[in-house]
């Protein structure tokens, strides 16, 4: 078995750490990671819970393929109820932390209650202990990781932690592991902070020995790695250019949301693209990008490692930021850049560094700045309220506001609440580019119609990683569909959502799906796990996970009204590019989507649907 079959339950109120056996019946129905942890979560937590109350729980979970040689087998997921959205939160991260959890002998760690004082959890194989973290509170994720390694005299420890953003109540705080990988969205770091849990430190030396059929697993994982190596996206595009390869492509399509979605093309897109990152700078003759990097077990290696320009105004007096660090990735470059009309690559790298250092989702932060800048331009916010001038395109404002938000200073406190709350406060709720309170990522719903439906129906709020139909609508994977039409999109979105849920539950990275389908991960799961893991079963697991999340959201009080895009996208046509004149067709796609899902016209799963899925 690829599961360790052990769950660590940490009660922060009582200060206890208790091992439990994994519920194998559930593992057979929900596989692992996103699926299995959500099952635990919905069984144990009342959906109406206040996300920041001690009664909310937070689960860090691996999948059965986490910690194995399967390519990209290093993922873990954080499940909780999200403070930004009031919906299920489910954030996935790579790096080395997930694999280390398996090597220490645990499938997942469940955190419940709230500690009186700041603590961190130290796990060394079967030994788990809560330790005082008062001296780490108020410090960054980078300092926390370094300090924990130092005081334990063990550089091999792997750490996940929150920075100042998670402590100060930024509603989109993330959990950062291995310096620059993050469980990024929906405010999972805010929940961690509300529990006074500063960090989780792991050291695992037990390894994984229980692969169901080891020789078959080694053989099939090797074959599947070859497919990734030979594929144009996973073997060439992502390692060479990273996710940033998309910047110019999406801009050409007129699908790059610009200036808070007022425009769909950014005149400076090329200045903040992968190509720009690789080009020597005028200032020092060096490129921002140094090399690519992989997460645990990943044979793709899409990660970017960069160095900021030392002479740039953001860091000229801050040598602590001159070293190599993670980024930029496409979503962050878009949110910090195009969404605000900012075309200065170095300031984007700076803002991204601060987001990593202090544990803050750069997508929600950047997109919230887009709303702030629009409110400023139309005169709703002024210099006095914000504390500075914040017109679209201002690199200085971005640099200043990222510091203010991460540190919870002045107007930064309001930015930390996200665009929905901020726009509501200033009586312009329609200017928040979000669904369920979570900001959009980097694809415009008018020019890529499937993504509009993806955002509207995503269980964790607007997100590209629930059903990345960009694959089909832009890249032609697995087959090309027209991005400008709504026809067939409800079925496409549903298929992507279910498959993605199964990928996520396995412990593998969704980026493999540029080259792999479920039929490629199925034999890897089947060789690793006991039980019969057919393609049909795996598809059903995906659908079951999706419906389980949906039911939780309904119980939490969300309704059909939460499956809706902001008016701008359904009433203001795209002004330029191939989608010129088009609005998002979500209103017409939604009823068909509900029907295909086996849900009623209010978006509630019908009894027979739930029955069929065993929910």
């Amino acid at each position: 078995m690829a599961w360790t079959r052990k769950v660590l339950r940490v009660n922060l109120t009582d200060g206890t750490c208790t091992p439990e056996d994994l519920n194998m019946d559930w593992a057979m129905d929900y596989l692992g990671s996103r699926g299995l942890a959500t099952k635990y979560f919905v069984e144990e937590v009342d959906a109406t819970v206040d996300p920041l109350a001690p009664e909310n729980k937070m689960i860090m979970a691996t999948g059965p393929l986490t910690g194995t040689v399967a390519s990209t087998g290093g993922r873990y997921t954080v499940i909780t109820k999200g403070p930004l959205t009031g919906a299920i939160a489910c954030s996935n991260s790579g790096g080395y932390f997930g694999a280390e959890m398996k090597f220490a002998g645990w499938d997942m760690i469940i955190f419940e209650g709230k500690s009186e004082k700041p603590v961190y959890l130290m796990v060394e194989n079967e030994t788990a202990q809560l330790r005082d973290a008062s001296h780490l509170w108020g410090t960054s994720t980078w300092h926390t990781e370094e300090q924990i390694k130092k005081e334990n005299q063990d550089p091999l420890i792997r750490v996940s932690s929150i920075g100042k953003a998670g402590e100060s109540g930024v509603l989109y705080a993330c959990i950062v592991n291995d310096l620059h990988r993050a469980a990024g969205r929906s405010g999972v770091g805010t929940v961690m902070g509300s529990k006074n849990l500063k960090a989780v430190a792991l050291r695992g030396t037990r390894g994984l020995s229980g692969i169901h059929d080891f020789p078959a697993f080694m053989k099939v994982t090797e074959e599947k790695k070859q497919i990734l190596a030979e594929n144009a996206v996973t073997g060439e595009g992502l390692p060479s250019f990273g996710t940033q390869v998309l910047m110019n492509v999406i801009n050409e399509m007129g699908a790059l949301p610009t200036r808070n979605h007022r425009d769909v093309q950014f005149e400076k897109a090329n200045d903040i693209s992968a190509e720009a990152m690789a080009k020597p700078r005028e200032s020092d003759g060096k490129a921002q990008l140094i090399t690519n990097a992989a997460c645990f077990g990943c044979t793709i290696g899409c990660g970017r490692i960069s160095k900021i320009d030392k002479e740039h105004f953001t860091v000229v007096n801050k040598p602590e930021y001159w070293g190599a660090s993670g980024g930029l990735e496409y979503e962050a470059a878009w949110a910090l850049g195009a969404a605000n009309g900012v075309g200065d690559l170095e300031v984007l790298q700076y803002a991204n560094l601060i987001c990593n250092e202090q544990g803050m989702d750069p997508i929600s932060f950047g997109a919230t700045i887009g709303a702030v800048m629009e409110l400023y331009e139309i005169g709703v916010l002024d210099d006095e309220t914000i504390g500075l001038a914040a017109p679209f395109g201002s690199a200085e404002a971005l640099a200043e506001l990222v510091d203010m938000t991460a540190n919870g200073v002045g107007f930064g406190k309001e930015i930390g609440l996200g665009s929905k709350r901020l726009c509501e406060k200033y009586q312009r709720p329609e200017l928040s580019m979000s669904v369920k309170g979570q900001e959009f990522p980097a694809y415009d719903s008018r020019a890529i119609q499937g993504m509009g439906l993806t955002y509207a129906t995503s269980n964790r709020g607007a997100c590209h990683l629930r059903s990345y139909t960009v694959s089909s609508e832009v890249l032609g994977i697995p087959e090309k569909t027209d991005p400008l039409t709504t026809e067939g999109k409800p079925g496409l979105v549903m298929a992507f959502q279910d498959a993605t849920a199964a990928f996520d539950a396995s412990g593998l990275c969704i980026f493999t799906s540029f080259a792999w389908t479920l039929a490629d991960i199925q034999p890897q799961i089947d060789a690793a796990c006991e039980g019969d893991w057919s393609l049909e079963k795996l598809s059903e697991v995906g659908e079951r996970i999706w419906n389980m999340e949906k039911v939780f959201n309904l119980e939490a009080g969300l309704t059909k009204d939460d499956d809706k895009l902001p008016e701008r996208l359904t009433t203001e046509p795209a002004k330029e590019g191939p989608a010129k004149g088009l609005v998002s067709g979500v209103p017409e796609m939604l009823p068909e989507y509900y029907e295909l899902r086996g849900w009623d016209t209010d978006g509630k799963p019908k009894a027979e649907t739930l029955g069929r899925l065993g929910l």
Binding site: V69, A293, T299, G303, A324
Partner: protein, 156 residues
């Protein structure tokens, strides 16, 4: 022809497939903490460097061992630990200037790279060719070729 592991850190992405392959080959488990090759991440420089035993000719570990537990594999040139003879005294771990022979508390023996008998698992697992197994006399061949290619560039 004797072959050597040749490591080009520039190509390493830090995926640790080599560590998993090494541990599987030698222990039958996936366990980087049991790997004889380690990847070091110099985060603030953006460098990842795999490192393991270079199989010294006059190996310090071999000479230091009081019970002759470290022998020479004449075909591969590897210095190989004989588990039956090793008493776990750890003197070799002190004598090795590179730190590439280490004690394993679980077994009470030391372990080091033995080149997998001439078919190193780490080499097969590396997705970027950062670790290769090449003619010992020509580990510089690729680098020579790169520079050679520049020799008369200007005349083209």
């Amino acid at each position: 022809m004797q072959k050597s592991l040749f490591i080009d850190p520039v190509k390493c992405t830090g995926c640790l497939q080599c560590e998993m392959a090494c541990s599987y080959e030698n222990t039958g488990t996936l366990n980087p903490s049991q790997s004889r090759i380690k990847v070091f991440n110099f985060e603030d420089q953006g460098r990842q460097v795999p490192y393991t035993c270079t199989q010294c000719d006059e190996a310090w570990c071999m000479h230091a061992c009081p019970v002759d537990a470290i022998g020479l594999d004449k075909i591969t040139g590897a210095k190989v630990v004989d588990d039956d003879a090793c008493v776990g005294c750890k003197v070799c771990t002190i004598s090795c200037p590179f730190g590439t022979i280490n004690y394993v508390a679980e077994t009470g023996k030391v372990q080091k790279c033995d080149l997998c008998g001439g078919d190193p698992a780490c080499v097969k697992a590396c997705p970027t060719d950062a670790i290769t197994y090449v003619d010992s006399n020509w580990t510089g061949l690729d680098r020579m070729r790169q520079w050679a290619g520049r020799a008369n560039e200007a005349s083209l």
